[in-house]
């Protein structure tokens, strides 16, 4: 690997981590759309900042643009508070407005400004190593690595300090407020960090893809864990993986690095969406199938419980009596036998003692809906796992 290659990957990794952390909280607060809005509406801030500083990595530009991001949040809230339109509509009204102001400003000054809409929307990581941080002639590495490094450090520091406050205000804003941790303060804190991250990252990955880096790792991690800390770690790991894998994918097919990173994220999400052990599509479908079989078994057990006469309990009559297809009847009977709930003698099905108890408990559960009755049954059956 050449040194620019290493630098590009390093920048990509830092950007991915810095985006993944606020992304987790945005996803949990159901505010993913707001990051999209911020990423677009910072454009006028960037343009004005660029007119003044002539440097895309200037801290002043970043602050100015981040303020435009906060302005978006405030405007959305003001419009929403009128009660005339819903939040999504308010977002849809505000950010294209601000964004278009930025687009016009770029177009009017396109001749003498080193900034174009494409670069803003898509970024170009490959050029990042060319812009060096020079202090009294000494080369300290790419500027954007320094910018994002500082942003990441601030984010990690704030996360470490205010993890518990962020958690409680995200989960239960009422309690948070009663305890003295102002949810409004936490909200604007998170919005500020998100804005600064988006501004810092847009130069590398562009305003559109920065949204993917925030939302996709968090959404993927959400499917994989039930623990907030693990969700943060998984998001970070996914961000790092997509940054490195995306870089080499882009290298291999000779395409945009940020585009490739986002593609990798999309593919990873799709894979997890399909194959996640608990919340994945396949495991959900499997569980639903199991549940159907178990409901059938329960129906069958109730039928046995209701009828002592042998002809009602004869295997050959299963189809007629409860109107089931052969395959289903066979699965159900097998499941019942496997769990020692029924016995079959001369093709006549009877409930075992366990089967009897089980049916009674199940009936009681259905009638009273009391969970504790079936606590021990949950191990064997999906049906009662809510």
């Amino acid at each position: 690997m050449t040194s620019p290659q290493i630098e590009i990957q390093l920048i990509a990794v830092v950007v991915a981590i810095a985006c993944a952390i606020p992304g987790v909280f945005l996803v949990l607060r159901k505010m993913a759309l707001i990051s999209d809005a911020i990423s677009h509406s910072i454009l006028p801030g960037i343009v004005i900042g660029f007119f003044i500083t002539q440097d895309l990595n200037s801290p002043f530009l970043i602050l100015l643009a981040a303020l435009t991001g906060l302005l978006t949040v405030v405007l959305v809230e003001i419009i929403q508070k009128t009660g005339l339109v819903k939040e999504d509509t308010a977002i849809g009204l505000v950010f294209p407005m601000l964004f278009s102001v930025g687009v016009i400003m770029i177009a009017k000054n396109a001749n003498d400004v080193h900034l174009d809409v494409d670069a803003v929307l898509l970024g170009e990581l490959a050029f990042a190593p060319f812009d060096r941080l020079l202090i009294s002639g000494m080369d300290l590495g790419p500027k954007s690595l320094w910018v994002m490094g500082v942003v990441l450090l601030i984010t990690v520091f704030l996360l470490f300090m205010f993890f518990k406050e962020l958690k409680v205000s995200t989960f239960d804003s009422g309690l948070s407020s009663a305890l003295g941790f102002s949810p409004i303060l936490m909200h604007y804190g998170l919005m500020s960090v998100s804005s600064i991250t988006v501004v810092g990252a847009f130069d590398a990955v562009g305003a559109i893809l920065v949204v993917a880096l925030m939302i996709a790792p968090a959404a993927t991690a959400y499917l994989l864990t039930n623990d907030l800390k693990k969700m943060l770690w998984i998001s970070i790991a996914l961000g790092v993986f997509s940054a490195v894998a995306g870089y080499w994918f882009a290298h291999f097919i000779d395409a945009s690095i940020s585009g490739s990173m986002t593609t990798v994220l999309g593919i990873v999400f799709l894979g997890v969406y399909l194959f996640a052990p608990q919340k994945g599509l396949i495991s959900v479908l499997y569980r639903q199938k199991q549940q159907r079989t178990e409901v059938s078994l329960l129906t069958f057990l109730l039928h046995l419980n209701n009828h002592s006469e042998e002809n009602e309990r004869h295997l050959n009559h299963l189809n007629e009596h409860i109107n089931w297809q052969k395959v289903r009847a066979k699965t159900v009977v097998e499941l019942g036998v496997k769990n020692n709930l029924i016995t079959i003698k001369h093709d006549v099905v009877s409930l075992t003692e366990k089967g009897n108890d089980f049916t009674k408990l199940a009936l009681e559960y259905i009638i009273t809906n009391k969970d504790e009755k079936i606590e021990h049954m949950k191990e064997d059956f999906f049906l009662f796992r809510g």
Partner: protein, 245 residues
């Protein structure tokens, strides 16, 4: 003997967009009562609690907790919001939710440690949920979720408890478990203020009651004021409730 008041509310008015939700409420809640707030939907019951706790800013009036503003008395107060106001799919466990009750004492930045964890486990035990401590909260039934919320309030170790419909959507055994804990807390000298919907159980569960419908209709001992007259005034229809004397 002079009555000591846990909560005093003077001329409290709360409005959403210029529409008053609570109008000129005067209310003094004596220390050590188990009080129900009853009233029809939209009567401002939840709003009253939120205004007392500073979650909503009133447009007029004042609230004091033991003669001090709420901001100075946070640590004396525990709060159980309505179960429906939080996202139960949030990635966290029952124990972790209870631990949130310790955050108030900790203040900013400081993290909960072994002491807080021990207190939280004890609170879970008290509500009969210890064996569920590591369960993800979406995997709990409605009654279990409410017990977790109660445990979180217990761990706050407060003097005054505000509870917003703790019996909503819980099974009968949870309802009994919760009311027994509330009665135990009252015996220990705590003050409990509970938004309640089931009028039938008011005389059985509570010793104090406030009728609310935007304005305060009446407040006092259940034995004296829980009658058809006040119910009719509050609910606006002729109300007959069988009260066992």
């Amino acid at each position: 003997m002079e009555t000591k008041f846990a909560v005093k509310i003077d001329d409290l008015t709360v409005a959403y967009d210029y529409k008053p939700v609570l109008w000129d409420i005067d209310l003094a809640i004596p220390e050590g009562v188990l009080m129900a707030i009853v009233g029809p939907n939209g009567a401002g019951k939840s709003t009253l609690i939120k205004a007392i706790l500073g979650i909503i800013k009133p447009i007029a009036g004042s609230v004091s907790i033991y003669d001090q503003p709420y901001e100075k008395q946070r640590k004396l107060v525990a709060y159980v919001p309505q179960k429906g106001t939080v996202d139960w799919d949030f990635p966290t466990t029952a124990l972790d939710v209870v631990m949130m009750g310790t955050y108030g004492d900790l203040g900013w930045i400081k993290r909960p440690g072994q002491k807080e964890k021990k207190a939280s486990l004890e609170a879970l035990e008290k509500v009969g949920m210890l064996s569920f401590k590591n369960r993800q909260i979406s995997q709990l039934s409605g009654g279990q979720q409410q017990r977790v919320f109660l445990a979180r309030a217990l761990v706050q170790n407060a003097s005054i408890y505000f509870m917003d419909e703790p019996f909503q959507g819980v099974d009968a055994s949870t309802e009994i478990a919760i009311i027994n804990i509330l009665k135990e807390l009252r015996k220990a000298g705590k003050t409990l203020i509970v938004v309640h919907h089931d009028l039938q159980t008011v005389p059985e569960y509570f010793d104090w009651v406030t009728f609310l419908n935007v304005k305060k209709i009446a407040t006092g001992p259940v034995k004296e004021i829980f009658n058809d007259d006040n119910l009719t005034k509050t609910y606006g229809i002729n109300y007959k409730v069988a009260i066992n004397k």
